[in-house]
């Protein structure tokens, strides 16, 4: 019933997990395990550690769980298989025990009341096995088939293919209720609501678009943990892989306790372009803030999350670090820029004011309710389709849904003027308040400059960004709301100066 590779790998992991407490130095273990539902192999203790850190926060902090596989249609007993995990630590699955056939009997109507169902399961399992179950996970047979199919395809897929297939699998399992948890973990709750907003838009499509514009290779991310730093290394140093398919490896960095992490040395050894060092705790807490948001997320909450993110960005050398050291943090360069009127001290980023400022502009000139047509163009691509359309529905200043228009007629009329496009789209989706056109080149330039080549970021790159924003080939808003009119009218130099004075605190101390 379950894919053999998946089952074998999981058994191996369970067996390793049950031995960890007896190991003197688990960091020395060389055992390899495949990360479940992917094809990436990693150190067994590393995977164990990530489960220990992530599961209690994002999934469940209770002990002992039961996995139940159920039929897709009504039967005498819809239970096709059930497995109990006895746990000593939250998130760490150790011993697995399969329940006998018909030991647990369920009908679809039992799924209507989860609390009652948990009580029923608890009683039955405690009576037969003496284990107190605190939560259950139910997967429908169709869900299991999808997992099996995903597993079978893994070998044929590239790195990007594996990520896409995994995201598609999660989106279907959660959206179609093929996977049920009780109590419902915050992450599932969040994903369900987020997928509802995405309507017919696949998460994997967004990720593919981002990966296409971002050259994700030859870089590393180090996550500082309580045990030892973990390195996520994305490079294309292997001869066997294709140009666009980098190799991902996840491993411990073994350093002595008293030793400091030398990013420059690690970068040089691994021949990486750049390496970022983050703290796992801070990253997880930030993600928790996002995941615990209830939908629809209020604008105040989004502002708060944005403020936290920007505070993280400004906390260079406290919360994060990068090698090579970015030019922008060079005091002398900053001093010279200050002389010519630019304040570019990212450690003084006005995290408290930026979201407030941009939200107030968006509310006034984007409206608090209406539809926005997002036109993603690819000006430089002469072969494949050059447009992607998205309809973003807003209510009370929050995104209510994002949808890819299915209408052939609408897609055919993309080449018409914005006026025509607005009229046609309004007939289908209600009044379109704004059309925002963004070209792939602009998105690529923004992401590459601000992420991949952050260490090279300088005032000229920022000026180029502003110039691209002013160029209607790369960015356009219809109708020409005052915000866009101002961007078009103001000189790049003055606009950047103004935007920097809004984004960065004027006082150095």
């Amino acid at each position: 019933m379950i894919n053999k590779d998946l089952s074998r790998n999981w058994q191996k992991f369970l067996s390793f997990s049950s031995k960890v407490d007896n190991l003197d130095n688990p960091l020395e273990v060389e055992d390899k395990i495949t990360i479940p539902l992917t094809s990436f192999e990693t150190n067994a203790y590393l995977l164990y550690y990530l489960f220990e850190e992530i599961s209690p926060k994002f999934i469940n902090d209770q002990l002992n769980v039961i996995d139940i596989i159920i039929s897709d249609y009504e039967l005498e007993n819809i239970v096709l298989g059930a497995f109990i995990y006895q746990m000593n630590k939250p998130g760490i699955h150790e011993n697995i025990k399969e329940l006998k056939k018909d030991e647990l009997k369920l009908k679809f109507k039992d799924l209507n009341n989860n609390e009652l169902l948990l009580n029923q399961i608890q009683k039955s399992v405690f009576k037969n096995h003496g284990i107190k179950i605190t939560n259950f996970r139910i997967i429908k047979k169709r869900g299991l088939d999808l997992i099996n199919r995903h597993m079978e395809d893994l070998d044929k897929l590239t790195l990007l293919g594996v990520i896409e297939s995994f995201l598609d699998l999660i989106q279907i399992l959660v959206k179609k209720d093929l996977l049920l948890f009780y109590p419902n973990p915050p992450v599932i709750n969040f994903l369900k609501q987020a997928f509802n907003i995405l309507k017919n838009l696949k998460l994997s499509k967004i990720v593919r678009y981002l990966i296409e514009v971002l050259p994700l290779s030859d870089f590393g991310i180090i996550l500082k943990t309580k045990v030892s730093p973990i390195l996520f290394n994305m490079n294309k140093n292997s001869q066997n892989i294709k140009h666009d398919d980098p190799n991902l490896s996840v491993n411990w960095i073994k350093i002595h306790e008293s030793e400091d992490l030398d990013l420059d040395k690690i970068r040089a050894e691994l021949k990486l372009k750049y390496i970022i060092n983050l703290q796992l705790d801070i990253l997880l807490n930030f993600l928790m803030d996002i995941i615990e948001s209830s939908f629809p997320i209020s604008q105040e909450k989004v502002k708060l999350i944005s403020q936290k993110f920007l505070f993280g960005v400004r906390s260079y050398q406290n919360y994060w670090n990068i090698s090579p050291k970015p030019l922008i943090y060079n005091g002398f360069i900053r001093f010279l820029l200050r002389i010519v009127g630019f304040n570019l001290n990212l450690q003084k980023l006005s995290h408290w004011a930026i979201p407030e400022f941009f939200f107030s502009i968006f509310n006034s000139y984007g409206g608090m309710q209406g539809n926005i047509l997002l036109l993603l163009t690819d000006h430089e691509n002469k072969t494949s389709p050059r447009y992607n359309l998205l309809v973003v529905q807003m209510e009370n200043g929050f995104i209510n849904s994002i949808e890819i228009p299915q209408s052939v007629e609408l897609n055919l009329k993309i080449d018409n003027s914005f006026e025509e496009l607005r009229v046609n789209a309004s007939k289908e989706y209600g009044t379109i308040s704004l059309i925002i056109k963004i070209d792939k080149k602009l998105i690529q330039f923004l992401l590459v400059s601000l992420i991949v080549n952050f260490y090279k970021l300088n005032i000229f790159k920022l000026l180029k960004m502003v110039k691209l924003l002013k160029n209607p080939i790369y960015f356009e808003i219809y109708p020409k709301i005052p915000f866009y009119r101002l961007i078009k009218r103001k000189k790049s130099y003055d606009l950047l100066k103004n935007l920097l004075s809004i984004s960065i605190d004027k006082h150095e101390f």
Binding site: S350, W352, A353, E356, F357, S360, I361, N363, S364, Y365, G366, G367, M368, Q369, G370, E395, N396, G397, F418, E419, R422, V423, S426, G430, T431, S433, L434, Y478, P479, K480, I481, P482, F483, R485, L486, R489, K490, N498, L499, S501, I502, K506
Partner: protein
């Protein structure tokens, strides 16, 4: 026309629906359908709620308008025109480029007009006042009001009576400004009285044939513009009728507001509207009691607007100054968060004889009343220690008592004062002066906003601001 509705002008429908289009359609159908209001071949003017080039809900809901135009067309209207006067400082020629409404409305088979001073108008006399009204409105066969209901700082909510005001030239709208000095002007709030009188006079020139109060979505807490804390509430209701006062009274009723306590509707009862009590209105459609909802109204005291680092000190002020100060203060707290943090401290004085500010630093005196009544106030003068260009070193000083000598004090004008003149002061002038006073470096967000406003303000306003 249906005889039943023809004789019952006080019939008001409360409509509910799953979207604005359905709701407006329901409302009109409850009144016997659009053919009860339109004869074939007629020209319809839809007076929409349109003020500044911002999007919904500052202006009307386009989905409602789309349905209304479509209904007019179905009933055989020859021509449908949508229009309004915008706020006085707005350059209307830029209006379409900013909102793109013209093409959208034309695609529905209607015309779109935002009026300027050069529009052809007729002059009408009402109670000794000469009022200019565009010919296009006077000559149309049927006049429809489409009003977006939001909270309003003076009249609780934007009533249709208020919407009717922007169908006449700016002359009248300015008539109540430039108020007179004197105790009575303020104590009797002559500004508000004049405003209401003018509003009701306008109504008498051209009565609407259909009035729609659209509050499918309603901006509550802070309005009628979108400010920090503004909340868009989905109410899913509309009130439709022929009698403007009846429609406004029912709207107030649905929002749990007493029409007798509303200065506009209570005053309107004494005019020829034919309505003085709720019993005069014949309700159809949804039940008023079952659909009542509570909304959060705007603050009624300026001191209650929480502007950071700002001490709001009020004297006796009129409605005009209140309205402009309300907009200005809410704008500061919405768009200039960063700038206010840089300012550290400021006092905002408004009205006649405002109390002394606690600090003499950054005193903003808002409006003619505050400026004129505070000419000789203490905060206008500062006592400072006199500084000598060269101080004699102590060891040279021979007399011992020189050491105990107190420094000389000198009185001079407090230059840390910003006067914002006007009765009431103009919002854009205030913002421009405010930024000039503090400087662009202290007000980066304000500068950005001001530059955005400049993209759609009239030339004469821009010249005025640059002085």
């Amino acid at each position: 026309m249906n005889e039943m509705t023809k004789n019952k002008n006080n019939l008001v429908a409360i409509a509910k629906g799953d979207n604005p289009q359905e709701t407006v359609k329901n409302g009109i159908e409850k009144l016997g359908g659009i053919s009860n209001f339109i004869n074939k071949g007629e020209t319809i003017f839809i007076k929409a709620y349109l003020r500044v080039p911002e999007l919904f809900p500052v202006n009307f809901n386009f989905d409602t308008l789309t349905e209304l135009i479509s209904l007019c067309k179905t009933a055989g209207a020859k021509k449908v025109i949508v229009g309004s006067y915008a706020d006085e400082d707005i350059n209307v020629s830029s209006f379409d480029e900013l909102l793109g409404f013209k093409h959208l409305i034309e695609s529905l088979g209607a015309e779109f007009h935002v009026f300027q001073e050069d529009v052809e108008y007729v002059i009408k006399e009402v109670e000794g006042n000469y009022i200019k009204i565009p010919k296009i409105i006077m000559n149309c066969d049927k006049l429809f009001f489409l009003n977006q209901v939001n909270v309003h700082p003076i009249f609780q909510i934007n009533l249709s009576l208020l919407n009717s005001y922007s169908m006449v030239t700016q002359d009248l709208q300015n008539a109540e400004k430039g108020g007179q000095e004197g105790k009575d002007y303020l104590s009797s709030d002559q500004f508000k009285h004049d405003l209401i009188t003018n509003l009701l006079n306008v109504y008498e020139i051209r009565k609407p044939d259909l009035v729609i109060n659209d509050f499918y979505y309603l901006l509550e807490k802070v309005g009628p513009f979108i400010f920090k804390d503004s909340n868009l509430k989905k109410v899913k209701l509309m009130v439709v009728g022929k009698n403007i006062l009846a429609v406004d009274i029912v709207t107030l009723g649905l929002l749990n507001l007493d029409f007798l306590k509303n200065s506009l509707t209570s005053e309107a009862r004494f005019r020829k509207f034919g309505i003085s009590t709720m019993e005069d209105i014949q309700l159809i459609g949804e039940n008023i009691e079952e659909n009542k909802i509570n909304i959060e109204l705007t603050v009624s005291n300026l001191e209650d607007i929480p502007v950071i680092n700002t001490d709001i000190i009020t004297g006796q002020y009129c409605t005009g100054c209140f309205m402009e100060a309300y907009r200005f203060l809410n704008f500061l707290r919405t768009a200039m968060v960063k700038d206010l943090k840089y300012i550290i401290t400021q006092s905002f004085l408004i009205g006649k004889n405002p109390p002394e500010p606690e600090s003499n630093e950054n005193v903003i005196v808002f409006g003619d009343c505050a400026i004129n009544s505070s000419k000789n106030r203490e905060f206008r003068r500062m006592i400072i220690k006199e500084k000598k260009l060269f101080n004699k070193p102590q060891f040279i000083s021979k007399k011992k008592d020189n050491l105990d000598k107190k420094p000389k004090l000198k009185e001079k004008d407090n230059k840390s004062i910003l006067e914002l003149p006007g009765c009431p002061p103009n919002f854009y002038n205030c913002l421009s002066s405010f930024i000039k006073y503090y400087g662009k470096k202290t007000c980066p967000s304000g500068t950005f906003y001001l530059d955005m406003f400049k993209t759609y303000l009239q030339e004469k306003k821009l010249e005025e601001m640059s002085k």
